[in-house]
């Protein structure tokens, strides 16, 4: 068989050692009625050549960012990934190891986790960060769950409607069975940002936390100064959710605005889009909340001879120790994706991250200006943005086919989630959308 090394003589000798004569004797203690029905009705195995051929045929039925001009963001971003990233995460010492429960032979993973935690703190401007969560959406849900632990007696969660709609859905799903939480949908204004007057008018001593995107789902940079002030006044915690962390190399980070919890999706930091997963969630907060945090944490310590080393720490918060009293049920940290992000951020470094963010912002702004001027499209929101923006495209349904036949997906139609935003496209421009692509986009919008 493909991956089992047993020859007939191996099997015979091993059975003999055990004191059996047939493999089937190993399973005879299992009820016969179960065994009789256990046959798997699937095709027989394939050669590696046949497997590759079949998978290539499936892959060929998909429109890739290589062959198509995709102006898609909305939580997943197409960025340049240095080849060094894949080289490192392909090393079997990283990719095939388990959670570092034996620190003496896991210093590579543990140090990388520690470096990652530091990078996330620096990028978000926060005090502490964990080693990673599943994705941005569940990280947002974990932020609300942590606020719930910290804010006893308060049960109202203000979710901005300009937060990613799938994230709102995940938060609602995570919270639906916890009786003491109430979600309050918070509208947005014509800026595309969260309606602060609504928050001021509705937050009282029952307000547990406010969750906003930064930048939000519309690409708009929320006014965290005024939102934070409203939260302070009501005693609510403020959590930001960043789906495009490259922006934080240019924008004032959540920590600088006094945000309590900063979470997000890390895919855009060196992980391929892969239909939206795997990526990883990041979770950072103020130091005073350390012992309420969900997820794994790597910490520095020493061995018996005083050598620096790293271990998983504060694990008394976690499920394998605390069981039903754990801060979360999570048992992973998407470590390999986190490693990819660590290599990515280390390779770009201080200057490269800034350059990447600037290229994105400038190219997106130039593209929007061009689409407005040349194609007469109308911006839907007035707020400042990073690399995504919403434009009104009248008659979108009729115009769509023309784009597809030009191998262009110009953006995400928002009407599916926001019926009031008919004919509105969320358009994303990154460094991967070359000048020629933008030219094609503009031309197609102009009907040429």
């Amino acid at each position: 068989m493909r991956y089992t090394p047993h020859t007939p003589s191996d099997k015979e000798q091993m059975l003999q050692a055990i004191g059996l004569s047939r493999i089937e004797e190993l399973v005879e203690h299992i009820p016969r009625s179960l065994r009789e029905r256990a046959g798997i009705s699937l095709p027989q195995g394939l050669t590696e050549v046949a497997v590759k051929k079949r998978m290539a045929a499936l892959a060929a039925k998909n429109a890739t960012a290589q062959d198509w001009r995709l102006f898609l963001g909305g939580g997943i971003y197409h960025h340049a990934i240095p080849s060094a990233v894949d080289a490192i995460i392909s090393r079997s010492e990283f990719s095939t190891s388990y959670t570092p429960y034996q620190p003496e032979v896991s210093q590579g993973t543990l140090q990388a986790m520690y470096e990652f935690q530091t990078l996330i703190c620096q990028l978000t401007g926060m005090d502490v960060a964990n080693a990673g969560l599943y994705d941005g959406a569940s990280a947002a849900a974990e932020a609300v769950l942590m606020a719930r632990r910290l804010q006893e007696g308060r049960h109202r969660v203000f979710l901005s409607l300009s937060l990613h709609p799938q994230y709102r859905r995940v938060i609602a799903t995570y919270l639906k069975n916890l009786e003491d939480v109430e979600l309050v949908e918070t509208p947005f204004t014509e800026s595309g940002g969260t309606d602060v007057e609504f928050l001021k008018g509705h937050m009282d001593e029952k307000a547990m936390c406010v969750v906003v995107g930064y930048p939000n789902f519309f690409g708009v940079i929320e006014d965290l100064a005024v939102i934070q002030e409203a939260c302070d006044r009501a005693g609510a915690l403020l959590a930001t959710v960043t789906t495009e962390p490259v922006s934080l190399a240019l924008l004032k980070p959540p920590g600088a605005w006094g945000v309590d919890i900063a979470v997000g999706e890390g895919q855009s930091l060196g992980v391929p889009m892969a239909l939206g997963g795997p990526g990883f969630g990041f979770f950072a907060c103020q130091k005073k909340f350390i012992r309420s945090m969900p997820g794994r944490l790597a910490g520095e310590t020493v061995d018996g001879e005083g050598r620096r080393g790293f271990v998983l720490t504060l694990s008394t918060r976690e499920q394998h120790i605390r069981r039903e009293k754990a801060t979360s049920n999570i048992c992973t940290s998407q470590t390999l994706c986190v490693l990819a992000a660590t290599v990515f951020m280390a390779t770009l470094g201080k200057g490269g991250m800034r350059r990447l963010a600037e290229v994105n912002a400038r190219r997106a702004h130039r593209t929007r200006e061009r689409l407005v001027k040349e194609a007469g499209l109308v911006p839907v929101f007035t707020g400042p943005f990073f690399n995504e923006f919403v434009l009104k495209v009248s008659g979108w349904a009729e115009r769509r086919a023309r784009f597809i036949s030009n191998k262009i997906v110009p953006g995400i139609a928002l009407a599916e989630w926001y019926p009031e935003l008919q004919d509105s496209l969320l358009i994303c421009v990154t460094e991967m959308n070359e000048e020629e692509e933008i030219e094609q986009l503009a031309r197609t919008f102009c009907g040429r």
Binding site: A60, E93, V302, R307, R308, R362
Partner: protein, 491 residues
């Protein structure tokens, strides 16, 4: 830069942090300056990211390659972690997952442009349903624990519709810690029941606590002692008779393929760890994937979107009013799903059936080789893993932890230790089917040799490891005074 400590025996991890390396102005990223301006209000902009690394690409590579040398991984070492299924992660899976037609797909592209991906997901759901004996599957959960949470939500939604979501979940004392943690997160109270002396659950123990307040019982089969829960059908009947549902933690599905289907055991919901049974890499702690399988009556509650086939096209449907909602953005860990799909078509039905049988053969072989030297807490036949204890070695004051650390010196990753919690000093060994007899022999020899050392030179074992980059680390200190990030030295 900090002082490097080579230490005795040339030890010392010796690796500076990325923040302690490099030089101002260096970067491994080349991209020309973009023309134009972003016209963002200056008050929204930050200064440069203080403390961020400044290294060249080659320097970064050398740093992380150096770190990789400090790790054990399955391609370098035998890694028999019980309950973790550290089997070979086939290279073809990696090649396939990196095809642009999978890696460069955007999840919000119109469904007509990702038909190949949707077809793969649709077929993988069918395959996992067939292997596990369930009727339908969702691939959305990102990991086993998220699968548990999803499964419990389905149970809760179903019972709520029947009139009462109920209050409690029964969890055996042998269960993974995620079972009770997920129950709490789903708004349930946890009732723990004890397994018997052989480590299995007696129907009587269930009967004692099973009533109309119990929503479900979570069972792991084979359980964490590697023992088949032979009463599972009787337990399922008991639970069902009182209106509860049976949840199966499928962490140990690697023992069952072609041997017994959970769907035939009375299981209503299960999760499957693709990073265990279906060979996707563990990655040092993720990403994995935790698909959930259900019987037909729970189908309406599955997370959305659901993939459906109409004529020859695959479409995404959200219109399921009874759905629990969404537990993850987009389609779950698609890259992991591609690898699992590749594994399944590579092996096929015959290969999967052989996989479980060889997993059992390897575990039973190791059990036989070690049972004279180490104490076996259960005499029940073992499946894909076996659990020993340190009872005999404790006489010399040598514990499971010492044995585990000494194994590192022999070049083996230790088994899972101190789990399951019901077994004092547990050493839980899961060799998996991809290991050869020679490797198992070498591991058994090492274990037996350590047992001999425990008698003749216990200090040697208790002081282990002696050859790893660092010695035993002070975990108490790390927790007492947490240092969770590097910070520039304040002079």
């Amino acid at each position: 830069m900090r002082e490097r400590s080579a230490g005795a025996n040339g030890r010392g991890s010796d690796a500076p942090l990325i923040f302690e390396s490099g030089s101002p102005g260096r970067s491994g990223f080349f991209w020309p300056e973009e023309k134009g301006a972003a016209e963002l209000p200056p008050e929204l902009l930050r200064d440069e990211i203080s403390g961020f690394p400044e290294m060249g690409e080659f320097e970064v590579l050398r740093h992380f390659t150096g770190l990789s040398h400090l790790n054990f991984g399955i391609e370098s070492q035998f890694y028999p972690l019980g309950s973790c299924t550290m089997k070979y992660n086939p290279k073809v899976n990696e090649v396939v997952a990196r095809l642009p037609g999978f890696a460069l797909l955007h999840p919000l592209a119109p469904p007509e442009l990702i038909q190949g991906a949707l077809e793969l997901l649709f077929q993988l759901e069918r395959m996992l349903a067939e292997i596990s004996g369930m009727d339908d599957v969702t691939l959305q959960p990102a990991a086993g624990a998220q699968g548990e949470l999803t499964g419990l939500m389905l149970i809760r939604a179903c019972l709520a519709e029947r009139g009462n979501p109920r209050r409690k979940i029964i969890v055996p004392d042998t269960a993974h810690g995620t079972n009770p943690a997920s129950s709490t997160l789903c708004g349930y109270e946890v009732i723990q029941i004890n397994s018997n002396k052989q480590g299995i659950i007696e129907p009587a123990a269930v009967e004692q606590v099973m009533d109309e307040s119990v929503a479900a019982l979570m069972i792991t089969n084979p359980n964490t002692l590697g023992v088949f829960e032979k009463n599972i059908q009787a337990i399922a009947d008991l639970v069902h008779r009182r209106g509860g549902l049976l949840y199966l933690d499928g962490a140990n599905l690697n023992a069952l393929m072609g041997i017994a289907k959970p769907g035939d055991m009375g299981v209503d919901v299960l999760h499957i760890n693709l990073h265990k049974t279906f060979s996707t890499p563990h990655g040092g702690g993720g990403p994995g994937a935790g698909p959930v399988g259900v019987k037909a009556f729970l189908r309406h509650y599955l997370p959305v979107p659901r993939i459906q086939k109409r004529d020859e096209a695959y479409e995404l449907r959200e219109d399921f009013p009874k759905t629990v909602g969404r537990v993850r953005s987009f389609f779950g860990n698609f890259g992991v799903l591609v690898r699992a799909y590749t594994y399944i078509i590579s092996l096929g039905a015959d290969g999967l059936e052989e996989t479980s049988r060889m997993a059992l053969l390897n575990a039973n072989y190791l059990k036989k080789k070690l049972e004279e030297t180490f104490h076996l807490p259960s005499t029940e036949p073992c499946m894909h893993e076996c659990v020993f204890t340190d009872r005999h070695q404790q006489k010399q004051g040598v514990s499971t932890l010492d044995i585990a650390k000494r194994l590192l010196d022999y070049g083996f990753h230790p088994p899972t230790i101190y789990f399951p919690l019901v077994v004092s000093g547990a050493l839980m060994i899961e060799p998996t089917e991809t290991e050869s007899r020679e490797t198992l022999d070498a591991f058994a020899d090492a274990m037996i040799s350590i047992a001999r050392e425990a008698k003749e030179n216990p200090a040697l074992v208790k002081g282990a490891p002696h050859t790893t980059p660092v010695g035993r680390l002070d975990e108490a200190r790390a927790a007492r005074r947490p240092v969770l990030r590097w910070e520039p030295r304040k002079d």
